[in-house]
């Protein structure tokens, strides 16, 4: 059996923060923590290799790093992939989670990592990746590696009950929803559930109510007439031709475009990239999604001090809420940094 083990520059004993830019490096044999696992598995005829990668390199050059990992997988053809343990190291944990998920999805071999429950990497664990619970620091190294070895032995034995027992006992319980087979079509379950509901029998919804994070609208500090106001939209309005290639759905980015010196947004100069609503009215009059014409009137009437020179835009359709939160936070940070005190946010 061949095992490939991903470690960051520190645990691969290449160096500290000064080596965080280390690109993906294939090292035949085990290094550091890997030697403990290799030793524990010595009766199983394991061929071991190590992948070392700097934490900064992984996050700044993720695509390149994954290409490097793919090359190593093609070359070494492992049967099992390990990463970490990362304990509570955030950047390392994220890298371990992403690498394991990528390998499990694309290479379809078992992938195991380990981290502490507070590690942000827990948000990036793909389906079927084993995440062994560890302590917050490398003080729990020995116990963590013992668990890695135990899980590998159980995987080798193919004993599913033992694997599931291990998962229950030692893997992080991360509440994530995935597709499973219920055993009956939706229309049958729906009719059954309805009859239970009508007849007053106990019933359970298959989709839980999830508490959403509340974002109270902050009060304006100072007076509106002294404030700089910005226009922000999720309606996908971009300069004609979409120079930055804003996605029309599953938006992953936001952009800002200048409106300095413009009295309104004219037809033919802007267009909307958005698959969630009928954009034809906005294409005819872009002011109807980014109301520059009205804002200039109010600005001249001194209802507020100044309109911010850029409007901000993303596409609010088909995307994941966590990505939208990230985009929102990015826009808010930029606006706050430019002295903007109030925002008009137009949604579709």
């Amino acid at each position: 059996m061949k095992v490939l083990h991903y470690l960051n520059q520190f645990f691969a004993q290449i160096g500290g923060e000064e080596k965080a830019g280390q690109e993906v490096l294939f090292i035949p044999g085990a290094v550091g923590a890997g030697t403990v696992i290799e030793n524990a598995l010595k009766d199983h005829g394991v061929e071991y290799a190590t992948l070392a990668c700097g934490d900064n390199y992984f996050h700044e050059q993720e695509e390149k790093a994954l290409r490097g990992i793919r090359d190593a997988l093609e070359q070494f053809q492992p049967d099992l992939f390990l990463a970490g343990p990362a304990f509570n190291a955030g950047r390392y944990g994220l890298a371990c989670a992403k690498v394991c998920s990528w390998v499990r999805d694309n290479w379809r071999i078992p992938a195991i990592t380990g981290m502490h429950e507070d590690n942000p990497g827990t948000k990036e664990i793909g389906r079927h990746v084993f995440v062994i619970q560890t302590g917050a620091s490398a003080a729990s190294m020995q116990e963590s590696l013992r668990r890695f070895s135990l899980l590998i032995e159980r995987l080798l034995s193919g004993d599913n009950t033992a694997i599931e027992n291990f998962r229950a006992e030692h893997c992080l319980p991360i509440p994530r929803r995935f597709t499973v087979r219920s055993g009956a079509p939706d229309h049958v379950r729906a009719a059954d559930l309805l009859l239970a509901k009508i007849q007053g029998r106990p019933y359970e919804s298959e989709i839980p109510q999830v508490e959403t994070k509340q974002h109270p609208i902050p009060n304006l500090t100072g007076k509106l007439r002294d404030a700089t106001v910005a226009l922000v939209t999720e309606g996908g309005l971009v300069p004609k031709g979409n120079p930055d290639r804003l996605e029309s759905s599953r938006g992953s980015r936001y952009f800002k475009y200048t409106i300095e010196g413009r009295e309104n947004l004219r037809q033919g100069e802007f267009e909307a990239m958005h698959t969630g609503y009928d954009t034809s009215t906005v294409d005819k009059d872009p002011d109807r999604i980014v109301p520059l014409d009205a804002m200039r009137v109010l600005e001249k009437g001194k209802r507020f001090k100044k309109l911010h020179d850029h409007y901000f835009v993303t596409t609010g359709t088909g995307a994941m809420p966590s990505k939208m939160e990230e985009i929102g936070a990015g826009i808010a940070e930029e606006l706050a940094g430019s002295g903007v005190g109030a925002v008009i946010l137009t949604a579709t």
Binding site: S182, G183, A184, A190, L194, L195, S248, D278
Partner: protein, 428 residues
């Protein structure tokens, strides 16, 4: 009101010199199809292909599938409103081939002239393998028409042509000579039943927004109608036709004609419930106020029909979820106990909020699974309909190669995942 359905099923399909159904084997002559649609296909090149359940075939660019249905004795026409003057349907006799689809695979002639929302989304049908339980139609025989329009055809003309070609072929195939086979005969009706049984309506919310994302009722866009009562038998005669190319979410025309929810409630009618019929409503209204009103009107109609309960499903996602949830809320507020069926978008890593909108009244949901989960999609032996697929306007892919994507790449996947009994659950 009563419809008699004469139901045929295939076990084989092949090309032949003559078009006929002999026993359970359908022979199709391409020349007969060409003759049927010659006035509809100007400027459109058509390749004809076959696919059978379990074959290692991948059909790409699928825009719609249509079930062969035709009125017997020429009494009126199936798919009313699409050929000649519309007449009421849902009575008399209808012939159907229940496991054959006329499948249209095509790209529009001028995609650059379409706004983002008009652009069709890629939809493929895998007849075997990992993709089959995500592909609507993987358990049907397919007569595939791969259309290639030349640049003289406008987008609007092509939209009409592809629909009319499919509907006419479907009517034609249902009418072919039949030898050595007896159909299953079924009566589609809502006969009076024990009055003590709970009264149930089916709420049927379709996507109808604009061209290429619309649904027709008797040939009229549902976006121009109010929520309305439809008798189940009308669906079997093709009263509802899809013009929606939001591939993974769409309810194909064939599914409007043979909807498992309608079949399920008809089956239970008189046994455990009193099925009152269907309320056809529209999602994707433009404003929140409109969405709310649509919900109120559905609830009012259900109340006036005397419903104690409702099963509700919707076509679409995101935007349409708000209309749907307003409908569920309004029904519950009217005292109509409602079960709502929906897909979840929990993200590739499974931890995202399942639904974009989830009011507390929607307390009895049925899940169709996580549609944003990544699946590894291996290649199949043959690709029909195109040499390159569009990964939802972000990238293109050679469909002969394996790739990692979510179920949204499959035609009718949201419905199909429900049919297959998929649901989302917390990983233990």
């Amino acid at each position: 009101m009563e419809l008699q359905l004469l139901d045929y099923a295939l076990e084989e399909i092949q090309w032949s010199e003559h078009t006929a159904l002999n026993g359970k084997s359908l022979s199709v002559c391409v020349g007969d199809l060409q003759e049927q649609i010659k006035d509809l296909s100007h400027g459109i090149q058509i390749d004809y292909e076959l696919a059978r359940p379990g074959e290692s075939k991948r059909i790409v660019h699928v825009l719609d599938t249509v079930l062969p249905i035709a009125k017997l004795n020429r009494s009126g026409s199936t798919f009313p409103g699409f050929e000649g003057a519309a007449q009421l349907v849902g009575t008399g006799q209808t012939t159907r081939i229940r496991n054959l689809l006329v499948t249209i695979a095509a790209r529009f002639p001028h995609p650059e002239a379409m706004t983002p929302i008009e652009k069709p989304r890629e939809g493929m049908i895998d007849m075997a393998g990992v993709g089959a339980p995500y592909s609507y139609g993987s358990d049907y025989f397919h007569l595939i028409l791969a259309l290639t329009p030349d640049s003289s055809v406008s987008n609007a003309a092509f939209d009409q042509a592809l629909r009319n070609i499919a509907l006419r072929c479907a009517r034609f195939l249902a009418q072919v000579d039949k030898n050595g086979n007896e159909p299953d005969r079924k009566i589609i009706a809502l006969k009076p039943v024990d009055k003590r049984l709970p009264k149930v309506v089916l709420i049927y919310q379709v996507q109808s927004q604009l061209v290429c994302a619309r649904t027709f009722y008797y040939g009229e866009e549902v976006s121009k109608t109010l929520p309305t009562f439809v008798h189940p038998a009308e669906f079997f005669d093709g009263a509802v036709v899809s013009g929606n190319y939001k591939s993974e979410r769409k309810i194909p025309t064939s599914r409007h004609c043979a909807n498992p929810f309608i079949a399920e409630l008809l089956e239970r009618h008189g046994k455990t419930m009193n099925f009152l019929g269907v309320i056809l409503s529209r999602g994707y209204n433009d404003s929140f106020e409109q969405k709310k009103k649509m919900g109120l009107w559905v609830a009012r109609l259900a109340r006036n029909l005397g419903a104690d309960g409702a099963v509700a499903f919707m076509e679409g996602t995101g935007n349409g979820t708000v209309d749907f949830m307003q409908t569920v809320k309004a029904c519950e507020d009217e005292g109509i106990r409602t079960v709502a069926v929906l897909h979840e978008s929990n993200g590739p890593k499974g931890y995202e909020r399942p639904l974009v909108d989830h009011p507390k009244e929607a307390d009895s949901m049925i899940s169709r699974g996580n549609v944003s989960e990544k699946i590894y999609i291996p290649p199949l032996a043959t690709v029909i309909g195109g040499a390159e697929i569009d990964l939802h306007l972000k990238a293109t892919h050679d469909p002969r190669l394996p790739f990692l994507f979510d179920p949204t790449i499959f035609f009718g996947s949201y419905s199909k995942m429900g049919d297959c009994g998929f649901r989302a659950a917390y990983e233990s």
